[in-house]
């Protein structure tokens, strides 16, 4: 930020050790920085400290007196009219003031001359032409000039135009009809090209009115740009004034000029519908009203989307007829086709008789989710083992999804034992799902249940459902169950398990016996297993063919048949057989077998 030369150089009258510099040592720290005029102090030798106080006192006889800088700068604004003002303590004669401003968002840096505030005589000036960006930080400073004398620059004032600006007065028009006053407010900068308050729909208008009498009591009401004030005394003069406010910015606007009007006589038209009300259950909306006259009156129900009232224009042409409620004679109307869940609605009933007479009823405002009542849910009970199941069907029928979605429904379950002798307190359970289970039910008892749906966010609850009761079966006691299980197990063991075990044991034994026999054959039959069956032992005495008495003992396979054959016979036979048997085992054995058989026979 360049230090303007005029700041320090063009101050010849100063000639002091203390130089009030500004901006020499600091730069603006961006939009949020604060400029402070720092006084730069020169280091002075110790001895001069005694002399300094004398120098500071303005000597009356000195030719050059110090011109103080302006102080307490203030910017005030109404809408886009900005005015800068300050205070100056110096002599009033011939003193003019000049101002400079700076606006960091601008490409050119440095202090600029403030248009409309150069060499002004008074302590204020209009700076509206210089301010164009209402949301940016601006910096302003002023100094005084008296002839060649220039005061130092004042402290820099930092400001945001939009913060400083006040809301100007709105326009007000009044119309007195039929005992009510129609109020039409136009926003503060209605026809201006450049506006401070671009969003003129965000204003909230505060109407203040009073009866023009001695004991005037001020009444205050928040109104829409086009609105009506009723409940006024007929044939009296009322005075009104309105201000535009921005509550979100904490701004209260200036009041409009006061305007007065006389109310007319209220004509009590018997044609009009009265007691107009909305009833809603499970998102089914109905409008109901009373008829004052019974004969020949046709009704026409109209609705208006809430936001039209927020706009500055007249909304009388924005009313729409509710389908199937045009030219009806009944005093009720089903509104469900026009009411949606997001948004306000206004409703009115037009009563018509013939072609000429028509009367609009009062308007009724509907906030659908707040006006709607939640109906009771359905309840069904089920038993399994020792558990009681409570099955809840959500309220709403066809609209149940809409309701569940918007209300975040939960259910409150009341259940109690319904016995004639004992009075037991009902227990309560809250659930978010549509199924609940009660586990501690006693057998052979009558349990009764009723359920209520509620919405925690909207603080709404439905009526309780019908009472449903169920009788729990006779309880199976635990010891019986244990005994039953035991008996079953026992039978299983006896009938199935034991024979199976025995069977397995027998099989095991058989296998063991066959493949791993425990008894050994006697020692004198050793090696028996090696010779085949077909070659029985024969006596070694076969080789000697002498006729001598030799007792032959033949051992056959059986082992215990020892045949003592007659010597002769056997010899002969055996001789032959012996020869044979010595050479050829097979034939020999056959032969010997035959002889043996013969002998035996």
């Amino acid at each position: 930020m360049a230090e303007p030369g005029a700041g320090t150089a063009a101050e010849p009258g100063q000639g002091r050790t203390e130089e009030p510099g500004d901006g020499c040592t600091e730069e603006p720290e961006g939009p949020r920085g604060r400029w402070t005029a720092e006084r730069r102090r020169l280091r002075v030798p110790g001895g001069l400290w005694l002399v300094l106080p004398l120098l500071l006192v303005p000597l009356p006889c000195a030719g050059q007196s110090r011109l103080p800088s302006p102080a307490r700068l203030r910017v005030q604004a109404v809408n886009t009219n900005f005015s800068l003002s300050w205070e100056h303590g110096g002599s009033a004669r011939g003193v003019t003031f000049s101002a400079q401003f700076q606006w960091p968002e601008l490409k050119e840096t440095g202090w600029q001359e403030l248009p409309g505030c150069q060499a002004v005589a008074g302590t204020g000036c209009d700076i509206s032409s210089a301010i164009s960006e209402y949301y940016d930080y601006h910096y302003v400073r002023v100094r005084a000039q008296a002839g060649p004398l220039l005061s130092p620059w004042s402290e820099v004032l930092e400001m945001v135009p939009e913060h400083v600006a006040q809301i100007g007065p709105p326009g007000l028009e009044l119309q007195s009809t039929n005992g009510v006053v129609k109020v039409m407010v136009s926003p503060p900068e209605a026809n201006q090209k450049t506006k401070m308050w671009i969003n003129d729909l965000s204003f909230k208008y505060n109407l203040v009115f009073w009866e023009n009498s001695s004991h005037a009591q001020l009444q205050s009401k928040t109104i829409f740009p086009v609105d009506t004030v009723d409940d006024l005394a007929p044939d009296s003069t009322y005075c009104f004034k309105v201000q535009a406010n921005l509550p979100s910015e904490g701004k209260q606007g200036l009041f409009s000029p006061v305007s007065c009007v006389k109310t007319s006589q209220k004509v009590n038209d018997l044609l009009c519908a009265t007691n107009v009300s909305v009833q809603a259950l499970n998102m089914k909306f109905h409008l109901l009203w009373d008829a004052q006259e019974n004969q020949g009156v046709n009704y026409n129900v109209q609705y208006l989307l809430g936001f039209w009232k927020k706009l500055n224009d007249d909304y009388s042409d924005k009313w729409l007829s509710v389908p199937r409620c045009e030219n009806i004679t009944s005093t009720s109307c089903n509104l469900s086709s026009v009411i949606t869940t997001t948004g306000f609605f206004y409703l009115r009933v037009q009563a018509r008789e013939g072609h000429n007479k028509s009367c609009f009823s009062r308007e009724v405002k509907v906030d659908p989710l707040k006006t709607n009542e939640i109906g009771p849910p359905g309840v069904r009970l089920d038993l399994s083992d020792s558990l009681l199941h409570i099955i809840i069907s959500p309220p709403g029928g066809a609209e149940e999804e809409v309701m569940r979605d918007h209300y975040h429904l939960s259910y409150r379950i009341l259940y109690w034992k319904n016995s004639s002798d004992m009075e037991e307190e009902a227990k309560q359970k809250e659930v978010k799902q549509t199924i609940a289970t009660v586990s501690d039910v006693s057998p052979s008892t009558l349990y009764c249940v009723k359920v209520q749906a509620f919405s925690e966010p909207y603080n709404k609850s439905s009526a309780y459902s019908n009472q449903e009761c169920i009788h729990t079966p006779a309880g199976t006691s635990l010891p019986l169950i244990i005994f039953g299980v035991f008996t079953g197990a026992l039978l299983f063991v006896l009938l199935v398990a034991t024979p199976l075990v025995l069977l397995l044991y027998q099989a095991y034994n058989k296998i063991k016996y066959v493949f791993f026999p425990s008894c050994q054959p006697p020692m004198n039959i050793e090696g028996f297993g090696a010779l085949p069956f077909s070659t029985p032992y024969l006596s070694a005495a076969e080789e000697s063919v002498e006729n001598c008495c030799v007792i032959e003992s033949m051992v056959t396979e059986e082992g215990n048949q020892i045949v003592f054959a007659d010597y002769k016979h056997s010899k002969q036979s055996s001789r032959d057989s012996g020869n044979y048997s010595n050479d050829d085992n097979t034939s020999g054995s056959k032969g010997s077998k035959d002889t043996l058989e013969k002998e035996m026979v």
């Binding site: 949020r32 949301y135 945001v160 939009e162 913060h163 671009i198 969003n199 003129d200 729909l201 965000s202 909230k204 509550p247 979100s248 910015e249 904490g250 989307l305 809430g306 936001f307 927020k310 706009l311 949606t340 869940t341 997001t342 948004g343 306000f344 906030d367 989710l369 979605d405 918007h406 975040h408 925690e456 966010p457 909207y458 603080n459």
Partner: protein
Amino acid sequence: MNTFGLIQIGLILSSTTIISSLQCNHLPLQQRKVIENSLRLLDKMGKEFPQQCLREKMSFRFPAQVLQPRQKEAVEVAIEEIFQHIFYIFSKNLTLAAWDGTVLDQFQNGLYLQIEQLEACVIEKHTQHCRSKDVSRLKLKKYFQKIDCFLKDKQHDLCSWEISRAEMRKCLQLIDKVTRKLKN
């Protein structure tokens, strides 16, 4: 500060909390529903973004930092401001946009409902002296001023409207994200 002063402050704070919780419990739930609905209606009111308008697309640079969830109330105030501006933008000179009037009306109606609720529940109690909120508000005003000027310069023709609609959709999607985060 003596004990009595502390007690007073405690009572005031607790009473405002109680009052707000009685009337305004439904606000977070309703806000989510309104935003969901608004996004759906914003898509429904017109057709796809026209190809010929791609050339004219410009970046408005929404100040997303105003929605950083530092403090719940500051964010709610910013959201209220945004809804007010969107409501204002969509309130006039829409003939050249050729959108579905019924859908547009419902869109506006939803925004208006939420603005009223936020004003009743949040604005009334929020202290007006927070400097930090002022900076957010200024940034938002500048952003919406840019869009307003853009529409005026193009005389509210079809392309300028379509570009603005796309920009508002981005805005609402950001708010949707923040609203869900705030709830959790």
